[in-house]
Symmetry: C2
Protein backbone atom coordinates (compact mmCIF):
# COMPACT_ATOMS: atom_id res chain seq x y z
CA UNK A 1 0.00 0.00 0.00
CA UNK A 2 1.24 3.47 -0.84
CA UNK A 3 1.11 6.12 1.79
CA UNK A 4 1.05 9.79 0.84
CA UNK A 5 4.63 10.96 1.43
CA UNK A 6 5.06 13.71 4.03
CA UNK A 7 5.21 17.09 2.39
CA UNK A 8 3.06 16.13 -0.55
CA UNK A 9 0.60 18.83 -1.69
CA UNK A 10 -2.47 17.30 -0.08
CA UNK A 11 -0.67 17.27 3.24
CA UNK A 12 -0.08 21.01 3.32
CA UNK A 13 -2.14 22.91 5.87
CA UNK A 14 -2.87 26.59 5.44
CA UNK A 15 -1.49 28.63 8.36
CA UNK A 16 -4.03 29.42 11.05
CA UNK A 17 -3.94 33.12 10.25
CA UNK A 18 -5.02 32.45 6.69
CA UNK A 19 -8.20 30.69 7.78
CA UNK A 20 -9.83 33.92 8.75
CA UNK A 21 -9.70 35.35 5.28
CA UNK A 22 -9.68 32.09 3.36
CA UNK A 23 -11.60 29.59 5.48
CA UNK A 24 -11.72 26.93 2.78
CA UNK A 25 -9.29 24.01 2.74
CA UNK A 26 -6.82 23.57 -0.13
CA UNK A 27 -8.75 23.16 -3.35
CA UNK A 28 -6.73 20.15 -4.53
CA UNK A 29 -9.65 17.73 -4.88
CA UNK A 30 -11.80 17.95 -1.80
CA UNK A 31 -14.95 17.80 -3.89
CA UNK A 32 -14.22 14.33 -5.12
CA UNK A 33 -13.55 12.99 -1.65
CA UNK A 34 -16.64 14.56 -0.12
CA UNK A 35 -18.71 13.38 -3.04
CA UNK A 36 -17.55 9.81 -2.59
CA UNK A 37 -18.26 9.78 1.10
CA UNK A 38 -21.62 11.39 0.61
CA UNK A 39 -22.51 8.88 -2.07
CA UNK A 40 -21.89 6.08 0.38
CA UNK A 41 -23.87 7.81 3.07
CA UNK A 42 -26.80 8.64 0.86
CA UNK A 43 -26.87 5.18 -0.62
CA UNK A 44 -26.81 3.60 2.80
CA UNK A 45 -29.46 6.02 4.03
CA UNK A 46 -31.69 4.93 1.17
CA UNK A 47 -31.18 1.27 2.05
CA UNK A 48 -32.01 1.87 5.71
CA UNK A 49 -35.08 3.93 4.98
CA UNK A 50 -36.28 1.51 2.32
CA UNK A 51 -35.90 -1.42 4.73
CA UNK A 52 -38.11 0.32 7.26
CA UNK A 53 -40.79 1.30 4.75
CA UNK A 54 -40.76 -2.05 2.95
CA UNK A 55 -41.31 -3.75 6.29
CA UNK A 56 -44.09 -1.43 7.39
CA UNK A 57 -45.98 -1.08 4.11
CA UNK A 58 -44.73 -3.92 1.97
CA UNK A 59 -42.65 -3.61 -1.18
CA UNK A 60 -45.49 -2.95 -3.61
CA UNK A 61 -47.15 -0.67 -1.11
CA UNK A 62 -44.13 1.61 -0.86
CA UNK A 63 -43.45 4.09 -3.64
CA UNK A 64 -40.00 5.27 -4.59
CA UNK A 65 -41.32 8.72 -3.75
CA UNK A 66 -42.05 7.59 -0.18
CA UNK A 67 -38.48 6.40 0.10
CA UNK A 68 -36.99 9.52 -1.43
CA UNK A 69 -38.96 11.76 0.90
CA UNK A 70 -38.05 9.75 3.99
CA UNK A 71 -34.40 10.06 2.97
CA UNK A 72 -34.73 13.80 2.39
CA UNK A 73 -34.40 13.59 -1.37
CA UNK A 74 -36.58 14.48 -4.33
CA UNK A 75 -38.55 11.98 -6.28
CA UNK A 76 -36.07 11.13 -8.99
CA UNK A 77 -32.97 10.91 -6.84
CA UNK A 78 -33.12 7.30 -5.65
CA UNK A 79 -32.58 6.34 -9.28
CA UNK A 80 -29.19 8.02 -9.19
CA UNK A 81 -28.13 5.43 -6.60
CA UNK A 82 -30.17 2.42 -7.74
CA UNK A 83 -31.12 1.59 -11.25
CA UNK A 84 -34.60 0.41 -10.24
CA UNK A 85 -36.90 -0.06 -7.29
CA UNK A 86 -36.24 -3.79 -7.26
CA UNK A 87 -32.48 -3.18 -7.21
CA UNK A 88 -33.08 -1.28 -3.99
CA UNK A 89 -35.03 -4.22 -2.61
CA UNK A 90 -32.12 -6.46 -3.54
CA UNK A 91 -29.71 -4.24 -1.67
CA UNK A 92 -31.91 -4.28 1.43
CA UNK A 93 -32.15 -8.05 1.42
CA UNK A 94 -28.49 -8.67 0.68
CA UNK A 95 -27.44 -6.30 3.45
CA UNK A 96 -29.71 -8.12 5.88
CA UNK A 97 -28.59 -11.65 5.12
CA UNK A 98 -24.93 -10.69 4.93
CA UNK A 99 -25.14 -9.11 8.36
CA UNK A 100 -26.96 -12.14 9.76
CA UNK A 101 -24.27 -14.52 8.50
CA UNK A 102 -21.54 -12.36 10.01
CA UNK A 103 -23.24 -12.18 13.39
CA UNK A 104 -23.94 -15.90 13.59
CA UNK A 105 -20.40 -16.75 12.57
CA UNK A 106 -18.94 -14.44 15.21
CA UNK A 107 -21.37 -15.67 17.86
CA UNK A 108 -20.47 -19.31 17.23
CA UNK A 109 -16.77 -18.57 17.25
CA UNK A 110 -17.13 -16.91 20.63
CA UNK A 111 -18.16 -20.26 22.09
CA UNK A 112 -15.51 -22.25 23.95
CA UNK A 113 -13.65 -24.77 21.83
CA UNK A 114 -15.42 -27.39 23.91
CA UNK A 115 -17.82 -28.31 21.17
CA UNK A 116 -19.38 -31.13 23.14
CA UNK A 117 -22.49 -29.13 23.98
CA UNK A 118 -24.60 -28.72 20.87
CA UNK A 119 -27.48 -27.30 22.92
CA UNK A 120 -25.30 -24.31 23.67
CA UNK A 121 -24.66 -23.86 19.97
CA UNK A 122 -28.37 -24.00 19.24
CA UNK A 123 -28.99 -21.46 21.98
CA UNK A 124 -26.55 -19.04 20.35
CA UNK A 125 -28.15 -19.57 16.94
CA UNK A 126 -31.65 -19.03 18.25
CA UNK A 127 -30.76 -15.98 20.30
CA UNK A 128 -28.90 -14.24 17.51
CA UNK A 129 -31.59 -15.11 15.01
CA UNK A 130 -34.20 -13.48 17.23
CA UNK A 131 -32.04 -10.41 17.57
CA UNK A 132 -31.65 -10.12 13.82
CA UNK A 133 -35.42 -10.39 13.48
CA UNK A 134 -36.60 -8.31 16.42
CA UNK A 135 -33.70 -6.30 17.81
CA UNK A 136 -32.57 -2.82 16.92
CA UNK A 137 -32.04 -2.11 13.24
CA UNK A 138 -33.97 -5.26 12.43
CA UNK A 139 -35.95 -4.39 9.32
CA UNK A 140 -33.69 -6.02 6.74
CA UNK A 141 -34.27 -9.72 7.34
CA UNK A 142 -38.04 -9.40 7.83
CA UNK A 143 -38.14 -7.68 4.45
CA UNK A 144 -36.34 -10.67 3.00
CA UNK A 145 -38.77 -13.09 4.64
CA UNK A 146 -41.84 -11.41 3.21
CA UNK A 147 -40.68 -9.87 -0.06
CA UNK A 148 -38.28 -12.51 -1.34
CA UNK A 149 -40.85 -13.69 -3.86
CA UNK A 150 -40.93 -10.26 -5.52
CA UNK A 151 -37.41 -10.73 -6.85
CA UNK A 152 -37.05 -12.33 -10.24
CA UNK A 153 -34.78 -15.38 -10.53
CA UNK A 154 -31.75 -13.44 -11.76
CA UNK A 155 -31.96 -11.24 -8.70
CA UNK A 156 -32.37 -14.15 -6.32
CA UNK A 157 -29.30 -16.05 -7.43
CA UNK A 158 -26.59 -13.97 -5.72
CA UNK A 159 -28.60 -13.78 -2.50
CA UNK A 160 -29.38 -17.48 -2.55
CA UNK A 161 -25.77 -18.24 -1.76
CA UNK A 162 -25.92 -16.12 1.36
CA UNK A 163 -29.19 -17.75 2.41
CA UNK A 164 -27.70 -21.20 1.98
CA UNK A 165 -24.64 -20.19 3.96
CA UNK A 166 -26.85 -18.96 6.74
CA UNK A 167 -28.88 -22.13 6.87
CA UNK A 168 -25.74 -24.27 6.77
CA UNK A 169 -24.60 -22.66 10.01
CA UNK A 170 -27.44 -24.48 11.78
CA UNK A 171 -26.70 -27.96 10.55
CA UNK A 172 -23.77 -29.08 12.77
CA UNK A 173 -25.68 -28.27 15.95
CA UNK A 174 -28.87 -29.92 14.70
CA UNK A 175 -27.04 -33.05 13.58
CA UNK A 176 -25.26 -33.37 16.91
CA UNK A 177 -28.52 -32.86 18.79
CA UNK A 178 -30.23 -35.49 16.70
CA UNK A 179 -27.37 -37.93 17.25
CA UNK A 180 -27.61 -37.45 21.02
CA UNK A 181 -31.36 -37.97 21.02
CA UNK A 182 -32.06 -34.37 22.02
CA UNK A 183 -33.85 -33.65 18.77
CA UNK A 184 -36.28 -35.84 16.91
CA UNK A 185 -37.55 -35.56 13.32
CA UNK A 186 -35.27 -35.25 10.33
CA UNK A 187 -32.75 -32.42 10.57
CA UNK A 188 -34.02 -30.92 7.34
CA UNK A 189 -37.60 -30.62 8.52
CA UNK A 190 -36.47 -29.71 12.02
CA UNK A 191 -34.45 -26.79 10.68
CA UNK A 192 -37.37 -25.54 8.60
CA UNK A 193 -39.77 -25.79 11.50
CA UNK A 194 -37.45 -24.21 14.04
CA UNK A 195 -36.69 -21.30 11.74
CA UNK A 196 -40.38 -21.03 10.99
CA UNK A 197 -41.29 -20.86 14.66
CA UNK A 198 -38.75 -18.09 15.14
CA UNK A 199 -39.52 -16.20 11.95
CA UNK A 200 -43.19 -16.09 12.85
CA UNK A 201 -42.34 -13.95 15.85
CA UNK A 202 -42.10 -10.88 13.64
CA UNK A 203 -45.88 -11.16 13.34
CA UNK A 204 -46.64 -11.05 17.06
CA UNK A 205 -43.64 -10.02 19.13
CA UNK A 206 -44.10 -6.78 21.04
CA UNK A 207 -40.82 -5.31 22.35
CA UNK A 208 -42.86 -3.40 24.92
CA UNK A 209 -44.53 -6.58 26.15
CA UNK A 210 -43.53 -8.83 29.01
CA UNK A 211 -41.43 -11.40 27.16
CA UNK A 212 -37.80 -10.61 26.40
CA UNK A 213 -35.79 -12.16 23.61
CA UNK A 214 -34.07 -14.27 26.25
CA UNK A 215 -37.49 -15.54 27.32
CA UNK A 216 -38.28 -16.50 23.75
CA UNK A 217 -34.96 -18.30 23.50
CA UNK A 218 -35.69 -20.29 26.64
CA UNK A 219 -39.15 -21.19 25.39
CA UNK A 220 -37.85 -22.29 22.00
CA UNK A 221 -35.19 -24.58 23.46
CA UNK A 222 -37.64 -26.01 25.97
CA UNK A 223 -40.06 -26.73 23.15
CA UNK A 224 -37.62 -28.31 20.71
CA UNK A 225 -35.18 -30.21 22.90
CA UNK A 226 -36.15 -33.48 24.55
CA UNK A 227 -34.35 -32.82 27.83
CA UNK A 228 -33.56 -29.63 29.74
CA UNK A 229 -30.21 -28.14 28.86
CA UNK A 230 -27.35 -29.08 31.11
CA UNK A 231 -27.10 -26.33 33.71
CA UNK A 232 -23.30 -26.56 33.65
CA UNK A 233 -23.42 -25.21 30.12
CA UNK A 234 -21.52 -22.27 28.79
CA UNK A 235 -22.16 -18.69 29.64
CA UNK A 236 -22.56 -16.59 26.55
CA UNK A 237 -20.84 -13.31 25.91
CA UNK A 238 -23.47 -10.57 25.93
CA UNK A 239 -22.03 -9.10 22.75
CA UNK A 240 -25.35 -9.09 20.92
CA UNK A 241 -27.12 -6.68 23.20
Amino acid sequence: MLKTPPGSPTDVEAPESALVLAPRRPRGRPRKTEQERDDGNRRLALIRVAARLFRQQGYAGTSTRDIAQAAGMHSGSPFYHFKSKSALLCAVIEEGVRNAVVRQTEGLQALPVDDANPAARLRVLVRQHLDVLLGDDSDFVPVMLYEWQRLDPSQRAPIQHLKSAYEALWMPALLALQASGQLRASVGLARLMILGALNWSVQWYDPAGAATLDDLTDAALALFLKEPERSGSVKLEPNWA
Copy 2:
Protein backbone atom coordinates in the same frame (compact mmCIF):
# COMPACT_ATOMS: atom_id res chain seq x y z
CA MET B 1 -88.34 -26.88 10.39
CA LEU B 2 -90.93 -26.63 7.66
CA LYS B 3 -90.79 -28.99 4.78
CA THR B 4 -92.45 -28.18 1.51
CA PRO B 5 -95.65 -30.24 1.52
CA PRO B 6 -96.00 -32.77 -1.29
CA GLY B 7 -98.01 -31.41 -4.16
CA SER B 8 -97.10 -27.79 -3.57
CA PRO B 9 -96.54 -25.73 -6.73
CA THR B 10 -92.74 -25.79 -6.65
CA ASP B 11 -92.88 -29.53 -6.52
CA VAL B 12 -94.63 -29.83 -9.87
CA GLU B 13 -92.51 -31.17 -12.71
CA ALA B 14 -93.41 -30.51 -16.32
CA PRO B 15 -94.06 -33.78 -18.14
CA GLU B 16 -91.15 -35.06 -20.20
CA SER B 17 -93.01 -34.50 -23.46
CA ALA B 18 -93.43 -30.81 -22.74
CA LEU B 19 -89.69 -30.26 -22.43
CA VAL B 20 -89.19 -30.59 -26.16
CA LEU B 21 -91.38 -27.69 -27.14
CA ALA B 22 -91.14 -25.62 -24.00
CA PRO B 23 -87.78 -26.40 -22.47
CA ARG B 24 -87.87 -23.50 -20.05
CA ARG B 25 -89.14 -23.94 -16.49
CA PRO B 26 -92.26 -22.09 -15.30
CA ARG B 27 -91.74 -18.34 -15.68
CA GLY B 28 -92.98 -17.48 -12.17
CA ARG B 29 -89.91 -15.48 -11.19
CA PRO B 30 -86.91 -17.27 -12.61
CA ARG B 31 -85.08 -14.02 -13.36
CA LYS B 32 -84.95 -13.00 -9.76
CA THR B 33 -83.82 -16.42 -8.68
CA GLU B 34 -81.21 -16.72 -11.36
CA GLN B 35 -79.99 -13.24 -10.66
CA GLU B 36 -79.58 -14.04 -7.00
CA ARG B 37 -77.77 -17.25 -7.66
CA ASP B 38 -75.58 -15.61 -10.27
CA ASP B 39 -74.77 -12.78 -7.93
CA GLY B 40 -73.62 -15.31 -5.39
CA ASN B 41 -71.65 -17.19 -7.99
CA ARG B 42 -69.95 -14.12 -9.37
CA ARG B 43 -69.21 -12.80 -5.94
CA LEU B 44 -67.75 -16.12 -4.88
CA ALA B 45 -65.79 -16.35 -8.12
CA LEU B 46 -64.26 -12.97 -7.36
CA ILE B 47 -63.29 -14.09 -3.86
CA ARG B 48 -61.67 -17.26 -5.16
CA VAL B 49 -59.77 -15.53 -7.92
CA ALA B 50 -58.70 -12.72 -5.62
CA ALA B 51 -57.40 -15.22 -3.06
CA ARG B 52 -55.22 -16.84 -5.69
CA LEU B 53 -53.85 -13.58 -7.06
CA PHE B 54 -53.33 -12.00 -3.64
CA ARG B 55 -51.32 -15.03 -2.63
CA GLN B 56 -49.24 -15.11 -5.79
CA GLN B 57 -48.61 -11.41 -6.25
CA GLY B 58 -49.45 -9.87 -2.91
CA TYR B 59 -52.33 -7.53 -2.19
CA ALA B 60 -50.69 -4.29 -3.31
CA GLY B 61 -49.19 -6.07 -6.30
CA THR B 62 -52.57 -7.19 -7.60
CA SER B 63 -54.81 -4.69 -9.37
CA THR B 64 -58.56 -4.84 -9.35
CA ARG B 65 -58.24 -5.11 -13.12
CA ASP B 66 -56.16 -8.28 -12.74
CA ILE B 67 -58.92 -9.73 -10.61
CA ALA B 68 -61.70 -8.65 -12.93
CA GLN B 69 -59.96 -10.16 -15.93
CA ALA B 70 -59.25 -13.45 -14.16
CA ALA B 71 -62.93 -13.63 -13.25
CA GLY B 72 -63.99 -12.85 -16.82
CA MET B 73 -65.32 -9.40 -16.02
CA HIS B 74 -64.51 -5.88 -17.11
CA SER B 75 -62.49 -3.48 -15.07
CA GLY B 76 -65.26 -1.73 -13.17
CA SER B 77 -67.36 -4.78 -12.36
CA PRO B 78 -65.71 -5.96 -9.14
CA PHE B 79 -66.95 -2.73 -7.58
CA TYR B 80 -70.50 -3.86 -8.19
CA HIS B 81 -69.88 -6.73 -5.78
CA PHE B 82 -67.44 -5.09 -3.37
CA LYS B 83 -67.33 -1.47 -2.39
CA SER B 84 -63.53 -1.38 -2.43
CA LYS B 85 -60.45 -3.44 -3.05
CA SER B 86 -59.84 -3.83 0.66
CA ALA B 87 -63.41 -5.04 1.19
CA LEU B 88 -62.54 -7.84 -1.22
CA LEU B 89 -59.44 -8.62 0.81
CA CYS B 90 -61.62 -8.75 3.92
CA ALA B 91 -63.97 -11.21 2.28
CA VAL B 92 -61.07 -13.45 1.26
CA ILE B 93 -59.64 -13.49 4.76
CA GLU B 94 -62.96 -13.97 6.49
CA GLU B 95 -63.86 -16.85 4.20
CA GLY B 96 -60.51 -18.49 4.94
CA VAL B 97 -60.64 -18.25 8.71
CA ARG B 98 -64.29 -19.22 8.89
CA ASN B 99 -63.61 -22.36 6.89
CA ALA B 100 -60.60 -23.19 9.03
CA VAL B 101 -62.63 -22.94 12.23
CA VAL B 102 -65.33 -25.18 10.79
CA ARG B 103 -62.87 -27.82 9.67
CA GLN B 104 -61.01 -27.92 12.94
CA THR B 105 -64.23 -28.12 14.93
CA GLU B 106 -65.50 -30.99 12.82
CA GLY B 107 -62.16 -32.76 12.93
CA LEU B 108 -62.00 -32.60 16.69
CA GLN B 109 -65.57 -33.77 17.10
CA ALA B 110 -64.81 -36.81 14.96
CA LEU B 111 -62.37 -37.98 17.63
CA PRO B 112 -63.57 -40.65 20.06
CA VAL B 113 -65.07 -39.31 23.25
CA ASP B 114 -62.06 -40.82 24.98
CA ASP B 115 -60.39 -37.48 25.49
CA ALA B 116 -57.49 -38.94 27.42
CA ASN B 117 -55.09 -38.69 24.52
CA PRO B 118 -54.22 -35.05 23.93
CA ALA B 119 -51.49 -36.04 21.48
CA ALA B 120 -54.19 -37.34 19.17
CA ARG B 121 -55.98 -34.02 19.44
CA LEU B 122 -52.80 -32.15 18.58
CA ARG B 123 -52.27 -34.45 15.62
CA VAL B 124 -55.69 -33.60 14.26
CA LEU B 125 -55.09 -29.88 14.75
CA VAL B 126 -51.70 -29.99 13.05
CA ARG B 127 -52.88 -32.11 10.15
CA GLN B 128 -55.92 -29.99 9.40
CA HIS B 129 -53.96 -26.80 9.78
CA LEU B 130 -51.48 -28.02 7.18
CA ASP B 131 -54.30 -28.92 4.85
CA VAL B 132 -55.83 -25.48 5.20
CA LEU B 133 -52.43 -23.96 4.40
CA LEU B 134 -51.19 -26.29 1.71
CA GLY B 135 -54.03 -28.46 0.45
CA ASP B 136 -56.41 -27.84 -2.39
CA ASP B 137 -58.19 -24.52 -2.42
CA SER B 138 -55.68 -23.25 0.10
CA ASP B 139 -55.07 -19.63 -0.87
CA PHE B 140 -57.33 -17.97 1.68
CA VAL B 141 -55.46 -18.48 4.92
CA PRO B 142 -52.03 -17.74 3.46
CA VAL B 143 -53.47 -14.45 2.25
CA MET B 144 -54.56 -13.74 5.79
CA LEU B 145 -51.14 -14.60 7.15
CA TYR B 146 -49.33 -12.21 4.85
CA GLU B 147 -51.81 -9.43 4.17
CA TRP B 148 -53.50 -9.08 7.54
CA GLN B 149 -51.54 -5.90 8.25
CA ARG B 150 -53.05 -4.18 5.20
CA LEU B 151 -56.46 -4.07 6.85
CA ASP B 152 -57.27 -1.04 8.92
CA PRO B 153 -58.43 -1.58 12.50
CA SER B 154 -62.14 -1.33 11.72
CA GLN B 155 -61.76 -4.09 9.16
CA ARG B 156 -59.76 -6.30 11.48
CA ALA B 157 -62.27 -6.31 14.32
CA PRO B 158 -64.85 -8.74 12.93
CA ILE B 159 -62.15 -11.13 11.74
CA GLN B 160 -60.29 -10.94 15.02
CA HIS B 161 -63.08 -12.87 16.68
CA LEU B 162 -62.71 -15.71 14.22
CA LYS B 163 -58.94 -15.72 14.67
CA SER B 164 -59.31 -15.91 18.42
CA ALA B 165 -61.82 -18.72 18.11
CA TYR B 166 -59.41 -20.62 15.91
CA GLU B 167 -56.53 -20.20 18.31
CA ALA B 168 -58.73 -21.17 21.26
CA LEU B 169 -59.31 -24.56 19.65
CA TRP B 170 -55.66 -25.37 20.31
CA MET B 171 -55.58 -24.56 23.99
CA PRO B 172 -57.21 -27.65 25.60
CA ALA B 173 -54.84 -30.03 23.85
CA LEU B 174 -51.80 -27.88 24.64
CA LEU B 175 -52.78 -27.51 28.29
CA ALA B 176 -53.30 -31.25 28.66
CA LEU B 177 -49.98 -31.98 26.99
CA GLN B 178 -48.23 -29.55 29.26
CA ALA B 179 -49.86 -31.08 32.33
CA SER B 180 -48.69 -34.54 31.32
CA GLY B 181 -45.14 -33.33 30.69
CA GLN B 182 -45.36 -33.98 26.96
CA LEU B 183 -44.93 -30.29 26.17
CA ARG B 184 -42.57 -27.82 27.80
CA ALA B 185 -42.56 -23.99 27.62
CA SER B 186 -45.58 -21.87 28.40
CA VAL B 187 -48.68 -22.83 26.44
CA GLY B 188 -48.96 -19.29 25.08
CA LEU B 189 -45.49 -19.26 23.58
CA ALA B 190 -45.78 -22.91 22.59
CA ARG B 191 -48.92 -22.18 20.59
CA LEU B 192 -47.30 -19.25 18.83
CA MET B 193 -44.19 -21.24 17.99
CA ILE B 194 -46.05 -24.33 16.83
CA LEU B 195 -48.35 -22.29 14.59
CA GLY B 196 -45.31 -20.38 13.35
CA ALA B 197 -43.47 -23.56 12.46
CA LEU B 198 -46.51 -24.74 10.51
CA ASN B 199 -47.34 -21.40 8.91
CA TRP B 200 -43.81 -21.08 7.61
CA SER B 201 -44.38 -24.14 5.43
CA VAL B 202 -46.21 -21.99 2.89
CA GLN B 203 -42.80 -20.51 2.08
CA TRP B 204 -41.06 -23.77 1.29
CA TYR B 205 -43.49 -26.67 0.90
CA ASP B 206 -43.57 -28.22 -2.54
CA PRO B 207 -46.59 -30.45 -3.17
CA ALA B 208 -44.62 -32.19 -5.91
CA GLY B 209 -41.75 -32.92 -3.54
CA ALA B 210 -41.10 -36.02 -1.50
CA ALA B 211 -42.72 -35.02 1.78
CA THR B 212 -46.46 -35.43 2.20
CA LEU B 213 -48.60 -33.50 4.62
CA ASP B 214 -48.71 -36.62 6.78
CA ASP B 215 -44.91 -36.58 6.83
CA LEU B 216 -44.94 -32.98 7.99
CA THR B 217 -47.44 -33.88 10.69
CA ASP B 218 -45.21 -36.69 11.95
CA ALA B 219 -42.19 -34.42 11.96
CA ALA B 220 -44.00 -31.67 13.82
CA LEU B 221 -45.25 -33.99 16.56
CA ALA B 222 -41.84 -35.63 16.87
CA LEU B 223 -40.26 -32.21 17.21
CA PHE B 224 -42.66 -30.72 19.75
CA LEU B 225 -43.62 -33.66 21.99
CA LYS B 226 -41.23 -35.02 24.58
CA GLU B 227 -42.12 -38.67 24.04
CA PRO B 228 -43.28 -40.63 21.01
CA GLU B 229 -47.03 -40.82 20.68
CA ARG B 230 -48.67 -43.89 22.13
CA SER B 231 -49.00 -46.32 19.26
CA GLY B 232 -52.35 -47.45 20.55
CA SER B 233 -53.72 -44.05 19.68
CA VAL B 234 -56.75 -43.30 17.64
CA LYS B 235 -57.06 -43.82 13.95
CA LEU B 236 -58.29 -40.69 12.25
CA GLU B 237 -61.03 -40.52 9.71
CA PRO B 238 -59.49 -39.57 6.39
CA ASN B 239 -62.22 -36.99 5.84
CA TRP B 240 -59.79 -34.17 5.12
CA ALA B 241 -58.24 -35.67 2.01
